[in-house]
């Protein structure tokens, strides 16, 4: 069930009133929201509901056991078992075929054959997201940062449908306390909720889908057939497409949660205005970068064990981040590139520099954006061959015609990037004005947005890029 569909609209129109009606009695609300979330999840494939339920039981059991145990060695063992279960599920569904075929191909070089068959498994939607949330819960219980709650509350936390399939990755301390006490039905931040849903819908349906169909898919499908200008513009277009697609989805998720009375953390903060790669990761998929920092980078030693190990930790963290996105070597290279960027940035920060202003600020923004774009080439390419064709073609076909670089494409890219440079106050002013409108006028504004989005967007509903991860 995708957010921008009539099916979801009907589902939500049923869930919204029932959620508020049951809200005063949390022991009724929580089973209701778990049931609703399972219905939402089963829309893709009902069999995977058992995987979600199994993950819930497994992590709850082990989090409680860790919390109850006072013996450090036993707690550690239980944590390892819990993590092995989570990583095992993720590894089996997401990486099994990737590792087996990669090993098989490696052994084939020396004439050996791997006697293990491939499984051709279907990846359960959202498994990467809810597994990371489950790991947070168990690790926080181990660290003593968060006391395990009842199974009912944990099930509601893990399966809550607004974040279930593509995040944001909400931490137990952020959501579970909200699930424990009824939300106030007299004070719902409707203006922010509707603003986020409307802008998210527009970003996804109009900007992201348009750019995908108008240039990105064509160019990355056969980069050898396109001019250098088309390749360059397609890279910029993909940078905007993936931002509009993913931030559009999380905007909608945050807005939907707000209508139900819940606050999710921010996931994007104008990432293409970043002045360094470190700054970029503070603005892009913020909940994932936080997760990687707290559950991978810091446990690896962070920056506490000397310069060399810090670089190693940065690189390892980003490689894991890359692999989390997809079972493919191009994703590993994407993560590796960001690891190298971060390490180089850290090396550079060793030299004392005043914060950039004026031209220097814009130069750093430009350099950061292009470094990010270079990494996006590997993220989007379906193979190293395609990535190579894109990068080589950037320098070799400037004399060829560029029919795909039309006004619409340029405008969509410009709008996608310029929107990130708008004053931070502007959305708040818009929301403030919207909130002062009478209820029917608010509905009319939203209806107009629906109409414009429907007309301007390509036909059909394209899946979200991050659903694959």
């Amino acid at each position: 069930m995708l957010f921008p569909t009539a099916t979801f609209a009907l589902f939500f129109l049923v869930v919204l009133p029932l959620s508020w009606l049951t809200m005063p009695r949390p022991h009724r609300w929580r089973p209701f929201i778990v049931a609703a979330s399972y219905v939402f999840y089963s829309w893709w494939d009902w069999r995977f509901v058992f995987l979600l339920a199994g993950s819930t039981l497994w992590n709850q059991l082990l989090a409680v056991a860790i919390h109850r145990s006072a013996v450090p060695a036993r707690r550690r063992l239980l944590l390892v078992v819990a993590l092995a279960g989570n990583v095992g599920v993720l590894g089996y569904f997401k990486y099994y075929d990737f590792f087996v075929s990669s090993t098989d191909n490696l052994l084939a070089v020396v004439g050996l054959d791997l006697p293990v068959g491939l499984r051709s498994l279907v990846l359960p939607v959202g498994v990467s997201f809810y597994t990371f949330m489950a790991i947070s819960y168990v690790v926080d219980a181990y660290r003593g940062d968060f006391e395990p709650v009842t199974l009912e509350k944990f099930a509601a936390y893990l399966s809550f449908f607004p974040h279930l399939v593509a995040g944001p990755i909400v931490r137990p301390g952020e959501l579970i306390p909200q699930l424990e006490t009824p939300r106030d039905p007299r004070s719902v931040d409707t203006s922010r909720a509707f603003y986020l849903i409307a802008t998210g819908l527009f970003k996804k349906v109009v900007i992201a889908n348009y750019l995908a169909g108008a240039i990105v898919d064509d160019v990355f499908g056969a980069p050898g057939q396109h001019s250098s200008l088309e390749l360059l513009v397609a890279i910029y277009a993909y940078a905007v497409q993936i931002y509009a697609d993913f931030s559009g989805y999380t905007d909608m998720a945050i807005g939907i949660a707000l209508l139900l009375g819940f606050r999710f953390p921010q996931n994007f903060d104008s990432p293409y205005t970043a002045v360094s790669i470190q700054d970029f990761w503070r603005r892009w998929h913020m909940t994932l970068s936080r997760w990687l920092r707290d559950y991978v980078y810091i446990p690896l030693g962070g920056n506490r064990k000397g310069e060399l190990l810090t670089y190693r930790n940065l690189l390892l963290t980003m490689l894991i981040g890359g692999l989390w996105h997809g079972a493919g070597w191009t994703f590993v290279v994407w993560g590796g590139l960001h690891g190298v960027y971060l390490a180089a940035g850290r090396l550079r920060r060793g030299r004392k520099e005043a914060p950039p202003t004026g031209l220097a600020l814009w130069r750093r923004r430009l350099v950061t954006f292009h470094l990010v774009c270079l990494a996006w080439v590997f993220f989007r390419a379906d193979s190293f061959g395609t990535a190579k064709d894109v990068l080589v073609g950037l320098f070799t076909r400037w004399d060829a015609a560029s029919p795909l670089v039309g006004t619409g494409v340029v405008l969509a890219i410009a709008a996608g990037i310029a929107s990130q440079y708008l004053p931070a106050r502007l959305p708040y002013r818009l929301m403030e004005r919207f909130s002062r409108l009478p209820v029917p006028a608010q509905a009319a504004v939203l209806a107009l947005v629906l109409m414009v989005t429907s007309v301007m967007g390509p036909e059909g509903v394209a899946p979200f890029i991050y659903f694959r991860f």
Partner: protein, 374 residues
């Protein structure tokens, strides 16, 4: 009798102003949120009624479609009566997308003619030997030659199954140098086929494209969305029955044959990519029915249409579905997408090689290399 009432909170200025969020915006009640959502969806549905009605019409046959049509039909009438469909039409016109809400089920096919009498395009005319002369040794017909200076114009179109192989063909065409793929890539429309011209009318589209693009060869892939009991655009008085029934096969055959003739009459050679084996046995059986129709129609048009059989290529050694295959270098490569139907890049490359082989059999795409070497 005294009526017990709850004590009311005093009407302070703050209460009159209503609640606000932390940022100072007006917060509303959950009831208001629901009212706004319902009103926005109702009004949005009225503004978008023609588009919703088309979406409902395009749905697969079944109760969901019946319900959607029963709701969106009157909605479109009300929207039209209240002129609420005007803003959508105006915006569509401004964007050059007028007519997108039109439901078109017309199947315009060339009149059926005996397959053997249609001349094969790009085949040299048969010459009659003079009376009394020694008949010359049977010669292979000379192939029409193409080169980088005079490229074979190739158009690739179809449903979602053409996308990955289509791009692979475009890449391979680039290496072959004597082929010019028309358009910016495969002209694919997801979830379409020959069964439902209302969803996308391939019959009029292919005819128009063949006229404007003037391709020498066309690659088509259809059928993956055609394994249903329901078709639109069926001639008056014809009932098609269930999938695979004689009436269904007759009607689908008419469409396949018509599509082939449309391409041939525009002077183009047609390569039709057959449906592959899929992870689902039931689906594969249904695809077999479609493949059999396409293959037999292609056989009737030998020299003008070639059917590329992908079934065996993508089967495992045991004859079942294979997600991975071993390539020429002995590496295990992923050829099928996780859905068990579509292709991955390596699978597309396999099909591209088959298509190029078919084109090379029909046309001379390589002699320019020998001439260039001399």
């Amino acid at each position: 009798m005294a009526v017990e009432t709850r004590p009311r909170p005093p009407r302070t200025p703050a209460r009159r102003r209503g609640r606000t969020t932390e940022d100072g915006r007006r917060a509303l009640t959950a009831g208001h949120a629901l009212v706004i959502a319902v009103l926005a969806l109702v009004l949005g549905s009225l503004l978008n009624a023609p588009g919703l009605h088309k979406s409902a019409y395009n749905q697969p046959e079944g109760w969901k479609r019946d319900v959607a049509l029963a709701l969106t039909g009157p909605l479109a009438d009300v929207s039209h009566a209240l002129l609420l469909d005007r803003p959508r039409k105006l915006l569509q016109a401004a964007l050059g997308r007028s007519g997108e809400d039109r439901i078109d089920t017309t199947i315009a096919l060339p009149p059926a003619t005996p397959a053997a009498t249609t001349p094969a395009p790009s085949t040299p005319p048969a010459t009659t030997p003079p009376v009394g002369a020694t008949p010359p040794a049977p010669q292979k017909p000379r192939k029409q030659a193409f080169s980088p200076r005079r490229k074979l114009r190739l158009w690739i179109a179809g449903d979602s199954l053409v996308i990955t192989p289509g791009w692979a063909i475009v890449r391979a065409a680039g290496r072959a140098r004597a082929i010019l793929p028309l358009g910016s890539g495969p002209d694919a429309r997801v979830a379409t086929g020959l069964e439902r011209p209302d969803v996308f009318n391939w019959f009029s589209y292919v005819a128009a494209k063949a006229r404007t693009l003037r391709p020498n060869a066309v690659v088509l892939a259809f059928g993956a969305n055609d394994d249903h009991d329901y078709m639109t655009g069926v001639p008056e008085g014809v009932s098609i029955g269930s999938f695979g029934s004689p009436a269904w096969v007759r009607e689908y055959r008419r469409r396949v044959a018509g599509m082939m003739d449309t391409v041939n009459r525009a002077g183009a050679f047609l390569v039709w990519i057959g449906l592959p084996i899929t992870r689902s046995e039931t689906q594969t059986q249904r695809f077999d029915t479609i493949n059999a129709i396409v293959e037999s129609e292609a056989r009737k048009r030998r020299g003008r249409v070639v059917y590329v059989d992908t079934y065996a290529t993508f089967a495992s050694d045991s004859g079942g579905f294979a997600q991975y295959l071993t390539d020429d270098a002995g590496r295990t490569v992923l050829v099928r997408a996780p859905d068990g139907v579509h292709f991955e890049r390596a699978g597309g490359d396999v099909i591209a090689r088959m298509v190029l082989r078919a084109l090379n059999e029909k046309f001379d795409l390589t002699s320019w290399r020998r001439k260039a070497r001399r």
